[in-house]
C-alpha cells in the first residue's frame, strides 16, 4: 500500500520538481553548483522514512542543512510535507532519534542548585501522503480546466484571487463580496482586496485582435493539452491505482512516536521500555508503517491490575520452592509438586517434574530414584504446611512483632531448605538460593503469582540521573 503512494510521490517529484534548485531566486545559478534534482533526491529519501529529524536527513544525504531546509520549506508551502518543531535537550536530541524520544507527560525537575539544561528547537519533517494525493489531483484538474476554458474561449466568467490569502472567487460571487466603502471586491475570510486573475496564456506576440495570433495560440493550447495527456499518463495511472487504497497516515510527531515506541517494545517483548533503540530497524531506520494504530494513553494511571497477566501463564507452572510457599497462597497442585503421575510406555510412573531429564539418562533405575525423591518432596511439603499452621497458632498467643528468626524451629526450617536444595540438584540442575523465612507480620496478605512483578525495584530511583526538560 505504502509502495503505491511512494511511487506516486516519486512520479510527482520527477514530473514537476526535477528542475528545482536549492538556490534562492535572486542568487545566480552558477554551473559549478548546479543543484537540479535536489527536490527529487529529498522526496525520494522521505519515501524511505516516516518522521525524521531534519539534521539527521541532511547528514544522511550529505547535504548542507541550509540547502535541505530551503527545499523543505518550499515543499511545506506546496503542502507536500508536514513539519513540526520541538524544543528538546541537546543531549536527548543526539542520543535518540525521533522515533525513540521518550514521550513523558510529566516534566522532571533536576536537583536544587543544578544548572538549567539548554533546550534547542529541532525540526522534524514527514511526507503528507493525503495532501500530496489531493494537491496533485487539484492542480492537474485546474490545469486541464484552464487549458480547456482557454480553448473554448470561456473567458466570460472572470476569476478573482485574494492577494493576501490566495482564496479564489468567480464573478458569480461578486454580489456578496462587494464592499460598500470603496466599491471593490474584498475577501470574505481575510478582507483582503481581490484582483482579477491574470490570463496565463496571453500570447507573447501581443496582437490580441490579430486572427493569426489567435489561431497560433489556439494551436499552442491544443498541443499543450495533448502533451499533458501523453506526458502525465504514468502519473494519472498511478493516481487511479491509489484511488481506493487507504492513505498512509503517520499522524502528528507525538502520536507517531508513541506508536513507534509501542511497536518496538511489542516486537522485542520488552514492556519495560528501557531500551531506547528497540524500535529502530537496521541502521537506526524507523520501523515500517503497519496500518493505523489507535493509541490510548492512560495518563492517570488508572489501569486495572486485574487485566495484567503473566507471560508464563500459558506455560506449565513451575514447582515452587518451599521457602516461597506461605499459608494463604492460592496454589495449584502442580505448583505444590502434587501433579498427577503419568504412566509411561514401559510401565514406570514419573511425575511431571521429571520431564526435563535427558532421554539418554532416563532409565528404569533412574525413574525409581525419582519416585523416591517425589515421595520425599510430598511428605516434606505436608510437614512444612503443618509447621506453618503451628506457627500461626503460636503467633496469636505471642507478641505480634516477634520474628520467626528468634524461634528455634525457624533455624531448623532453614537447614531443611538447604537440604532440599542439595537434594534437588540431581533433579533439574537448579540450585535454590537460601532465603530467610518471612516474619509472621508479613503473612496476612495474599500473593497472586500470576501477576508479574515490576522489573525495576522501588529504590532504583536513586541511581537514575534525571535530566530537566
Amino acid at each position: 500500500m505504502v509502495d503505491h503512494y511512494n511511487k506516486l510521490v516519486k512520479l510527482a517529484a520527477r514530473a514537476f520538481y526535477d528542475d528545482l534548485t536549492s538556490k534562492g531566486e535572486n542568487q545566480p545559478k552558477s554551473g559549478r553548483s548546479d543543484n537540479r534534482g535536489i527536490a527529487v533526491v529529498i522526496l525520494d529519501a522521505l519515501t524511505r522514512r516516516q518522521w525524521v529529524r531534519e539534521e539527521d536527513l541532511a547528514k544522511d544525504l550529505k547535504l548542507h542543512t541550509k540547502q535541505l531546509r530551503r527545499t523543505l520549506r518550499f515543499f511545506e508551502e506546496e503542502k507536500i510535507i508536514t513539519r513540526e518543531y520541538r524544543r528538546e535537550t541537546a543531549k536527548g536530541a543526539k542520543m535518540y532519534s525521533a522515533a525513540t524520544a521518550a514521550t513523558v507527560d510529566v516534566q522532571l525537575t533536576g536537583k536544587e542548585g543544578e544548572e538549567k539544561v539548554k533546550l534547542h528547537t529541532h525540526s522534524y519533517c514527514c511526507l503528507d501522503y493525503a495532501q500530496i494525493y489531493d494537491v496533485v489531483r487539484y492542480r492537474i484538474h485546474r490545469m486541464k480546466k484552464l487549458l480547456k476554458d482557454e480553448l473554448d474561449n470561456k473567458n466570460t466568467i472572470e476569476e478573482y484571487i485574494c492577494t493576501k490569502c490566495g482564496k479564489r472567487y468567480n464573478a458569480l460571487d461578486a454580489l456578496r463580496l462587494v464592499s460598500f466603502e470603496d466599491d471593490d471586491f474584498h475577501c470574505e475570510s481575510c478582507n483582503g482586496k481581490l484582483e482579477v486573475e491574470n490570463d496565463k496564456f496571453v500570447a507573447q506576440e501581443g496582437g490580441d485582435g490579430d486572427e493569426n495570433a489567435r489561431r497560433r495560440r489556439h494551436e499552442k493550447l491544443k498541443d499543450m493539452l495533448q502533451k499533458m495527456e501523453a506526458q502525465l499518463k504514468p502519473l494519472m495511472d498511478q493516481l487511479s491505482r491509489v484511488k481506493d487504497l487507504p492513505v498512509p497516515e503517520f499522524g502528528s510527531l507525538l502520536a507517531w512516536e508513541a506508536r513507534a515506541s509501542a511497536m518496538g517494545r511489542a516486537a522485542n517483548g520488552d514492556m519495560s521500555g528501557d531500551s531506547k533503540m528497540s524500535q529502530l530497524g537496521y541502521n537506526g531506520a524507523p520501523m515500517p508503517y503497519s496500518g493505523d494504530t489507535k493509541v490510548v494513553v492512560d495518563f492517570n494511571g488508572t489501569e486495572d491490575i486485574k487485566d495484567v497477566k503473566s507471560e508464563t501463564g500459558s506455560a506449565s507452572l513451575k514447582v515452587l520452592p518451599p521457602w516461597m510457599i506461605k499459608s494463604g497462597m492460592v496454589l495449584t497442585k502442580e505448583q505444590r509438586g502434587e501433579a498427577k503421575e503419568e504412566i509411561k510406555m514401559d510401565g514406570t510412573s514419573t511425575s511431571s517434574s521429571a520431564q526435563y531429564l535427558d532421554d539418554k539418562k532416563s532409565t528404569v533405575d533412574h525413574d525409581d530414584k525419582k519416585n523416591i525423591q517425589d515421595e520425599y518432596i510430598k511428605a516434606y511439603y505436608a510437614a512444612l504446611l503443618k509447621q506453618q499452621h503451628e506457627l500461626e497458632a503460636a503467633s496469636k498467643q505471642e507478641l505480634p512483632n516477634t520474628l520467626t528468626a528468634n524461634d528455634p524451629s525457624s533455624s531448623a526450617s532453614n537447614r531443611q531448605v538447604g537440604m532440599k536444595s542439595k537434594l534437588e540438584e540431581d533433579d533439574d540442575g537448579t540450585e535454590w538460593e537460601e532465603a530467610p523465612v518471612a516474619g509472621i507480620g508479613n503473612e496476612n496478605y495474599k500473593v497472586d503469582l500470576n501477576v508479574e512483578a515490576d522489573d525495576t525495584p522501588a529504590d532504583d530511583d536513586e541511581e537514575v540521573d534525571w535530566e530537566e526538560g
Binding site: F16, R36, I38, Y129, R139, Q231
Partner: protein, 257 residues
C-alpha cells in the same frame, strides 16, 4: 613533460631494438653530455626521500593503470625498488597500491572499470556517494558521471558547504518526463492557503478528498498543538526611503517602489 617523454621512450624501446635487428643497423649512439644529464637526474631521484620516490611510482601507476614489475617501474620512472628496500616495503603497505608478489598496480577506492559498473555502484548508495571516492576509479570517470547525469540515470548535486559533488541514483522504475511549460503551469497554479478549500474544490468536482483537515485540527487541539495556517509575513521590500549602502550600483534598484 620530461616524465611523459621518458614513459614514451620506455614504451618505444622494444620496437626500436626489434627494428634495428631487422635491418641490421645499430641504434644511433647517445651523446655523452645527454647521458650524463640523464644519469644525474636518475641519481637525484634515487637519493630523494622515500615519500618522493613513492609519489613518482604511484603517479606512474595511476596514469598507466597497468600492473608493472619492479624493472618496468625502474625503467619508466627511475625508482629502483630492488636497491631501496624502504621504498619497496612502503609501497607494499600503501593502501592505494596492490602488490601481487610480482607486479604493482594502482588500487582505487571502488573497483569500477566502466560506465555500467559505475552506474551499478551508484545505485548501491541511495543516500548518495561522494564523487571524490569515485574520481580515482578510472581515467574517464568524470566524463561518464556527466553522461549518466545527462541521461537522467543519476543526480549530481554539489554540497555548497564543502563544494563536493554527491551522486545519487535515479529510480529507473519511475520513468516520466514532462516539458518545462507544463511544469511551470503546474507550479504556477496557486494553492489556497487553507487545505479545507482544496478539499471543497475537489468535492465540488466529484473527487473524494483524502485529507480530512477538520479532523486533523481537532486531534491537534486535543494534543495542544495549533495547526492553523500561519499568515505569510510580508517581505521587507526596498523603497526609496531605504538607506542604501551600495547606492553606487543603480542597476540593483531599478524597480524601487
Amino acid at each position: 613533460m620530461a616524465f611523459q617523454e621518458k614513459q614514451n621512450r620506455f614504451k618505444r624501446q622494444p620496437e626500436k631494438s626489434a627494428s634495428a635487428s631487422q635491418y641490421g643497423r645499430t641504434p644511433a649512439p647517445i651523446k655523452f653530455s645527454n647521458d650524463t644529464e640523464r644519469l644525474q637526474h636518475v641519481n637525484s631521484i634515487r637519493k630523494a626521500p622515500v615519500g618522493a620516490q613513492m609519489k613518482r611510482v604511484i603517479d606512474l601507476l595511476f596514469e598507466t593503470r597497468k600492473a608493472l614489475t619492479i624493472e618496468q617501474i625502474n625503467e619508466a620512472c627511475y625508482v629502483d625498488m630492488r636497491a631501496n628496500k624502504d621504498v619497496f616495503e612502503s609501497m607494499r603497505k600503501n593502501p592505494k597500491v596492490k602488490y601481487d608478489g610480482e607486479r604493482f598496480s594502482y588500487k582505487s577506492k571502488h573497483d569500477v572499470r566502466d560506465k555500467n559498473q559505475l552506474l551499478f555502484l551508484v545505485r548501491k548508495f541511495p543516500e548518495g556517494i561522494a564523487v571524490v571516492d569515485l574520481k580515482d576509479s578510472y581515467p574517464t570517470v568524470m566524463e561518464d558521471l556527466q553522461a549518466l547525469k545527462a541521461a537522467r540515470e543519476i543526480w549530481l548535486l554539489s554540497n555548497f558547504d564543502s563544494q563536493e559533488d554527491i551522486a545519487y541514483p535515479n529510480d529507473p522504475k519511475v520513468p516520466i518526463k514532462v516539458d518545462d511549460d507544463l511544469k511551470q503551469l503546474f507550479r504556477g497554479i496557486e494553492l489556497p492557503r487553507d487545505m479545507i478549500d482544496i478539499e471543497r474544490d475537489l468535492q465540488k468536482n466529484g473527487m473524494k478528498p483524502a485529507t480530512n483537515t477538520a479532523k486533523r485540527r481537532s486531534a491537534a487541539q486535543m494534543e495542544g498543538i495549533s495547526s492553523k495556517p500561519k499568515p505569510k509575513k510580508k517581505k521587507n521590500e526596498i523603497t526609496k526611503r531605504t538607506k542604501l549602502t551600495n547606492a553606487h550600483l543603480p542597476e540593483l534598484f531599478q524597480n524601487l517602489k
